[in-house]
Symmetry: C3
């Protein structure tokens, strides 16, 4: 089918009111679209850029296999992960023919109707690869051919796309014990794209994660600190933060189940640390240790200036049988109720009044937007709210975020957009969608006499670019 008018029209996402659409388009085209992309938080593999000749791979490698947004939807309709080429951890053989995988995907592309994933995929096909057909079972192989042919061309190499996407800076996410060798290689290569690591110490501060002791051993080794006590552990972490910072990091990132911040006496920290070393930490120990470590990390952030990110409230690997066969990150992390008012209080009371701290909080529980997070961000100088995250990084999710957050927190206590993606080629699609949603929201303010065009353009700039740069010190 030829590219119909609806297929990514120039005024997509705007409206429906024609006047609102007109204003949105002006804001988008004049202010947002020309701005470079700032990507302060994401999961793109730095190896795409450390090796000059890297490619984006086959269509299946590029769009399906690494993207749990995509394959979870197919799985939810009964398509086994084996058939989609998702690597197993238990030796289950998986489909190797990427054309077959692509055919299944295309046959079922209707499942993505009205989803952000569907929208991003259409964008990648059309805007990144110039495909003019609508993806379906019938057009699957023809589109595969076109994608495969282009993926080999130099102008579709990751470094070339980085420039074409107009990316100003791209931050990855890296565990404390990672060597950052690819970041070093990028720097050494003389390439002028800006890729920055982000310090994520989850591997060493979650006492009950499998292999914790080994991770702490590695941490000691790469920092040259002999870790025999809590205080030397802290010293090693401080040392590692400095190393990340030297390689360009401006931020840290923290995951966890609950967010019960709180401090204990140094002796108590050491006792629990020793218990963990003997393999005897309880879940309560682990939770309180994490709560204490968040306090420590906040203190370090005030000292070294790294922006602190926390995102909590997802039950990771909810589907145990699937986890046993395919490992983590398979589309079955499921959110649950979050609580910030009581849980963040110890940290905010201790450090939240200090403007030297920038604490960016994300949530998957939208009921906390207006109830807890916006009032907190509208008061504490240190607190900024991360954008609509993960499942909520969608058209309606972003609209809800604006509608629930801004009136109470103010726009200037939000952290700007981030794409949080593993799929490099989808980055412009995600920024485009967010900028359009925001332009349309601003146009609504203008039409209802809440903002004038001067303010709306200033806000558009900040939402598309300024806030992310400022929040993350980029």
């Amino acid at each position: 089918m030829a590219n119909p008018a609806w297929y990514l029209p120039a005024d997509r996402i705007f409206g429906p009111d024609p006047a609102q659409r007109r204003i949105a388009q002006e804001l988008y085209e004049q202010t947002a679209a020309p701005l470079p992309l700032v990507c302060p938080h994401g999961h793109v593999d730095p190896r795409l850029f450390s090796n000059e000749s890297a490619t984006v791979g086959t269509p299946a490698e590029m769009l399906i296999i690494p993207d749990h947004y995509v394959f979870r939807m197919l799985y939810s309709q009964g398509i086994p992960l084996e058939a989609l080429g998702i690597p197993s951890v238990d030796g289950t053989p998986v489909e190797q023919d990427h054309r077959k995988i692509w055919q299944i995907f295309a046959d079922n592309f209707f499942l993505f109707r009205a989803t952000p994933t569907g929208f991003w995929l259409m964008f990648v096909l059309k805007e990144v690869f110039g495909i003019d057909e609508k993806l379906s079972g019938k057009t699957a192989q023809s589109i595969y051919d076109q994608l495969a042919a282009k993926a080999c061309l130099p102008e579709f190499g990751p470094r070339a796309l980085f420039k074409r996407f107009h990316i100003e800076v791209l931050c990855t996410t890296d565990y404390a014990t990672e060597s950052l060798q690819h970041h070093q290689a990028i720097r050494d290569s003389g390439w002028d794209g800006t890729i920055r690591p982000t310090f994520r110490p989850d591997d060493v501060i979650h006492l009950l994660r499998p292999g914790w002791r080994e991770k702490v051993r590695v941490l000691g080794e790469i920092t040259g600190v002999e870790i025999g006590s809590f205080s030397s552990f802290i010293q090693a972490i401080e040392n590692r933060r400095a190393f990340f910072k030297k390689l360009g990091a401006t931020a840290t990132d923290h995951d966890g189940i609950t967010l019960r911040t709180g401090e204990f006496a140094p002796q108590e920290a050491d006792l629990i640390f020793q218990r963990a070393f003997q393999g005897q930490a309880s879940p309560e120990d682990a939770e309180r240790f994490l709560g204490h470590m968040l306090m420590e990390e906040a203190r370090m952030s005030i000292e070294d200036g790294l922006v602190m990110q926390v995102h909590f409230g997802s039950h990771r690997n909810h589907n145990q049988p699937l986890y046993d066969r395919f490992g983590p990150d398979r589309g079955c992390d499921i959110p649950f109720q979050a609580e910030f008012t009581r849980n963040l209080r110890p940290l905010l009371n201790r450090y939240g009044n200090d403007p030297h701290l920038t604490l960016v909080v994300f949530t998957l529980d939208e009921s906390t937007y207006s109830r807890e997070l916006a009032p907190l961000a509208g008061h504490y100088p240190a607190l900024k709210l991360g954008p609509a995250w993960w499942f909520n990084d969608s058209i309606q999710g972003m609209i809800r975020y604006r509608e629930h957050v801004v009136e109470t927190a103010g726009l200037y206590n939000t952290a700007g957009f981030n794409d949080d993606t593993r799929s490099f080629v989808s980055i412009p699609a995600r920024h485009d969608l967010a900028r359009r949603v925001d332009a349309n929201w601003l146009a609504g303010l203008v039409l209802r006499g809440i903002a004038d065009m001067e303010d709306a353009h200033a806000m558009m700039y900040d939402m598309a670019y300024g806030l992310a740069k400022k929040t993350y010190k980029l």
Copy 2:
């Protein structure tokens, strides 16, 4: 007052943008309106159809007395249930003059402004009974006369209305110990309307419901199973499911306070079952027994193919003094916080990867839509989300459902519409409203370039018809 232009105009519910209204109307008229009504979940009394000469009754019997949506609103404004003819259980005399009841209702019809109940009632008056006046205290008796006159005509008999309403299939809800004699009578009568029972074993699996032991005795009697142990109890339930299936059932239905699924060893099940028989089960026993029974029912559903429905999270009969005087289902079931991520995990980990299971989950806690249910449904093959339920089966409730669910779960992990009503004459009103809300939602997608008309028509078909048929195997 003569029927003003606004009174159910042809483009009602659509808009406000004229372009959106035009597209919505095309989707509605070309695709949705011609489709028959599929009613997979509801509470219509099968006696309306087993007896060829049944009528819909007086206006009060038809629209007020059986409909707790209607009389709870009058009660909330201080009108006693006695005055509305609601049968008491404590001997309180109640109004017998249905004209008086109707007058009170009409005098207070303004209370239903901007409510779905008001919209459904207007539809019944105009579209089903051809009333052209606006209901008010002044027009009350004239409208009563018109309704009463029509209700006696053969073309307003339930079987005739069933055909006129274009109902393809209507499922009732029936306790495990019910004889299904009226379903049998419908089949025996040779009438060609399709009425199916639904297996709801709440009467025998909630250990602490008054009369539980007697219900289990009846279950044993009608299944011919001597129930002396948990395993014979299970056998009786399996037997009863087979009987329901023989009479047309394609689904089961489960209610409860919490949804803490989980399994215990067969001996433990038997111990608790015996305790219950001796009248010594604790609330904790009852909750865990229910959690275990949900696992058993899921297993049975995989074996016999019955679709499994669960709807939890309502505090039944919240108003004790009213319950003591008027019994259950009096408009005072009040929802509370729900939790699915942890509570459903045991069941989903055991059976949720099996595409032979269809588990339809309903909720009254909208904060779980985007946080828990959409991510779960967007992953587990067995899970489908029931439509906006009960209080949320309203214009804004259905809009919120689409906006919170579809982007993450995908449309094809939702179960289609069901009317869930006790009020037979309101069925077309409810489907009409839902189809219009959906048409308008789709028109918004088209206008914003998210879907083309081809996709929108396909989605309209599925939302109005296809999804319900497929999910419920009808």
Copy 3:
């Protein structure tokens, strides 16, 4: 900058659809705008009216220093409260130059973009004081001059503004132990504005508030009751309610952390009361005592006819270090999860079926709107829902309130608007915004064929005026 077209245009807030805007404007202009303002719940200082020559003060005294909505936003961006002239409690010196304070505020006025506070401030500047410039760092001093000049004129005195604002009645909030001398003085002065006190016994029913014993002593003194037991305590409260009623009160008001209503035996109440007197009450004692007192207050309300208001769910003074330096009401009260279904049940089961009780409930947890409060209000005769409260008294907050509440609770189980403000000059801005949001919501109903214009005008009247008058018996 000259006053641009957008700056509070006549059709502000309406739209964006032109037809909706037209209908909204008709509803607003014909029905809402001419109605007087009814202010049943707020925190304006009665001294503004007891003294004929009182003024609204300097621009900083009028708009910044007393309004924690305003200064919390500046604080959240790192501006110290000292710099804004907020009085400290620990002796910290604070800025005394109100022109400097105003300059900081104006420099940072962009922070209020898209917030209700920003909208109200623009209204006050333009509609109350006739300022035609856009506030910014550049125009700060010129606007200060204009405001300061006008504030001295008799027509900008509080009593004159009261008339110009077209306020029919203004209710303040007053602790049980307050003398009401300013209310008495207003009455004695012969001025014909209606100012009524509201009885808020938080000072004497929260056992663990600092100074509780002293407050009870004062209560005894001013009521002439010797308070030595729980029953004499109750007698003193009844006595004090009568006094408030004599001075015009029609309502009471209750704050607290949780809302766990419930009753204990008289002896138990007395035991806890005595324990509290000996300084030995536990948090559990205090919570249960409060729960019992709510039952008592409901009983008293049935007896003396005072409307009972409860608003719970805010963690007061969340920021301890700031509280230690600046005291309460500094913009750091943070909401948390609320629960009404179980917590209100004892009270509603005991008194909720009695139409002599009017219980107005407020919430900061929007997830309870559709899940708990609307179903409760749509059933219990005594229960009415307060309007979108505090942070939710915003454009989107009010829209969400209508969309989540009305379909289930019905419009006539809501309590009408109240401004709940400490800022007297902002009262017309708040009513104007609410009326416009409501007019636009009604216009949407009309356009979609859900209401006709006759109903819409009737609803507009009730939402802007009738419901508040009726609910609060004004």
